[in-house]
């Protein structure tokens, strides 16, 4: 397995407000996640898990520090890339708690959309999307609208969408919260398998006790500080 560092965070801090109203969401935080690794971010509500996920996902600016993704320094007290959406499209896949599929697109089009945004033709996007859905065993439901999919099916379609552009980083926000323990286990095993096969790393925010044994490392966030 390639043990290359995919996510490398050094001295990252995030604070909101100034003076007496200043709130330190993250303090001088270091984190390295390697290819093939599946790690969990744990912590009570308000501990900064989502803030950290947003920083890795290039959605919000850190107040200070450095962020490197897939070997590229992308933040060093300022964003070094102009087009962060393109960076997300190319390098990062997102899996949401409530799957967040686009309700007016069927399963295969939800996946194909990401591929078309990355520049694939309609035919290429449809073919690749179908391959992913088949791989995740939801191929027979490819033409179903999200509202007609079960929770497990919708989450697998969401995973297919996250994997569509073969990202090196997959960020998951409570990926199993809406699933029962059996399906949660299946989804986590699937993510582990995909991380290994695609040399990607997976960083998941979770409170789900029943899947803790599926992670390679567990990080606890307390008062904006990270402990392994």
């Amino acid at each position: 397995m390639d043990r290359r560092v995919i996510v490398d965070i050094k001295g990252v801090a995030k604070h909101y407000g100034d003076g007496e109203t200043r709130v330190d969401a993250l303090r001088n935080l270091d984190l390295q996640v390697h290819a093939g690794e599946v790690v969990a971010l744990l912590g009570p509500s308000g501990s900064g898990k989502t803030t950290l996920l947003n920083i890795i996902g290039c959605i919000i600016d850190p107040s200070e520090g450095q962020v490197s993704l897939d070997g590229e320094l992308v933040y060093d007290n300022r964003w070094l890339r102009g087009d962060l959406r393109r960076l997300r499209l190319d390098k990062i896949g997102f899996i949401f708690q409530a799957h967040n599929l686009i309700p007016f697109l069927n399963a295969v089009d939800n996946v194909a959309l990401v591929l078309q945004l990355a520049g694939k033709t309609t035919a290429q996007a449809q073919t690749r999307a179908m391959e992913l859905l088949d791989y995740l065993e939801v191929g027979p439901r490819a033409r179903a609208m999200p509202a007609l999919l079960s929770g497990g099916e919708a989450q697998r379609v969401a995973i297919a969408r996250a994997l569509a552009n073969s990202p090196r980083i997959i960020l998951a926000d409570e990926p199993t919260a809406a699933l029962d323990s059996k399906r949660a286990g299946i989804v986590m095993d699937l993510l582990r398998k995909l991380a290994a096969e695609q040399d990607a790393c997976i960083i998941a925010v979770t409170h789900d006790e029943k899947i803790m044994d599926r992670f390679d490392r567990l990080f606890h966030l307390r008062d904006g500080r990270l402990e392994e």
Partner: protein, 377 residues
């Protein structure tokens, strides 16, 4: 992949209902445009119908449409003898109300001399006036049909023919009588004091009068020079056809035109606000999806395209429904609704601009959405 189309297809019923609402609004806008055109066209039709070059009217008046004009009956002979005049005819105009089938029918009575200028141009049903008395040709909008009889003043008239699109600026359908009948009718409808004086044999000043004398000129004769000649008679004035049309538009239908124009402006503003609200609401309902699209890397142009295309589709379908509806119901309006291709083109242009501007609110809201909201943080 066209996201706007997919979203519309997914919520087709709601989209159709929204378009229907907008279509009804467009119908009202188009009806206003049509009524406006109809008002101007009807007013001009009455002036254009006699195909005159010169209108000879009472001195210091603006003719039979803008002000009352009374000139002696024999003016026609004097005008007909002028150099350059090919044909002349006396004409009277008056609005009356007559009972017909248990209802009061408001009619615009035009009296003309048979065989001279001023009569109906195209008879669409029946025939023109042949008898000297008690026949009439009516506008089809009056509801009269050939063979109907109606009492005007103290005489009963028989409808012998029909014309179309001939009414005054108030929308009252025209009826054509012989000049003699129209003058008798005028006398019968004089104020009661005048009739009492006439009954006791008092001399009624002026004798028979007409509202105007209209004249057709020979080819290559300048109407203005003939008008100048007429103006030398101090008791008469003359207007060219162009001046008569101008007076009619500026003084007679101007207020109504402005009123309808203002109402049209208000309607278009309301339409713009409604479209903006619909688009804004549609966008607000999709904020989570827009956040997700941003998060997975969709560029702004994809999101703007989604909103603007839906806005344009809404406007286009609403406009088409509006056009279809107004074409279906325009003949049921009490006033003529006259729609021309240019109206549809102008409204298309306005709706296009309104839709793009209206979608601006939605686009602004969409572009401000933080992609982090898709993650729930």
């Amino acid at each position: 992949m066209n996201l706007a189309f997919r979203d519309v297809r997914h919520n087709l019923f709601r989209f159709i209902l929204t378009c229907l609402g907008l279509g009804l609004l467009m119908t009202v806008v188009l009806a206003m445009m049509g009524i406006y055109n109809g008002l101007v066209s009807d007013a001009l039709n009455i002036v254009k119908a006699p195909q005159a070059d010169i209108w000879v009217v009472e001195a210091d008046t603006q003719g039979p449409f803008a002000e009352a004009s009374k000139i002696p009956n024999d003016t026609r002979d004097a005008v007909a003898r002028l150099h350059g005049v090919a044909q002349a005819g006396s004409i009277t105009y008056q609005t009356i109300e007559a009972p017909f089938k248990a209802a009061a029918l408001r009619l615009y009575v035009i009296g003309y001399e048979r065989g001279q200028l001023g009569g109906p141009q195209t008879i669409v049903q029946g025939r023109g006036l042949q008898a000297s008395h008690f026949e009439m040709v009516a506008d089809a909008k009056s509801g009269l049909i050939p063979g109907d009889t109606i009492v005007l003043g103290r005489d009963r008239f028989t409808v012998v023919g029909l014309v179309r699109d001939t009414m005054n600026s108030g929308g009252d359908p025209a009826v054509f009588l012989t000049l003699a009948d129209a003058q008798v009718l005028q006398t019968q409808l004089d104020p009661s004091a005048a009739r009492v004086q006439a009954a006791r044999g008092a001399v009624v000043s002026g004798g028979a009068t007409v509202a105007a004398v209209i004249a057709k000129l020979d080819q290559n004769v300048d109407p203005q020079s003939v008008a100048n000649t007429v103006r030398q008679w101090k008791h008469l004035s003359a207007l060219t056809q162009a001046e008569q049309e101008d007076i009619l538009i500026k003084s007679v239908v101007d207020k109504a035109r402005k009123q309808i124009g203002l109402f049209l402006g208000i309607l278009l503003t309301v339409s713009a606000v409604v479209i903006a609200l619909i688009i804004y609401t549609m966008t607000m309902e999709k904020l989570k999806q827009i956040a997700t699209l941003k998060l997975i890397g969709a560029p702004d142009r994809t999101i703007i395209g989604l909103i603007v295309q839906q806005s344009l589709a809404l406007g286009a379908v609403g406009l088409m429904l509006g056009l279809a509806l107004i074409m279906a119901v325009k003949d049921f309006f009490p006033r003529r609704v006259l729609l021309e291709p240019v109206n549809a083109l102008v409204l298309t242009g306005i709706i296009l601009v309104v839709c793009v501007l209206a979608s601006g609110l939605g686009v602004r809201a969409a572009l401000k959405v933080d992609p982090a909201t898709a993650l729930g943080g």
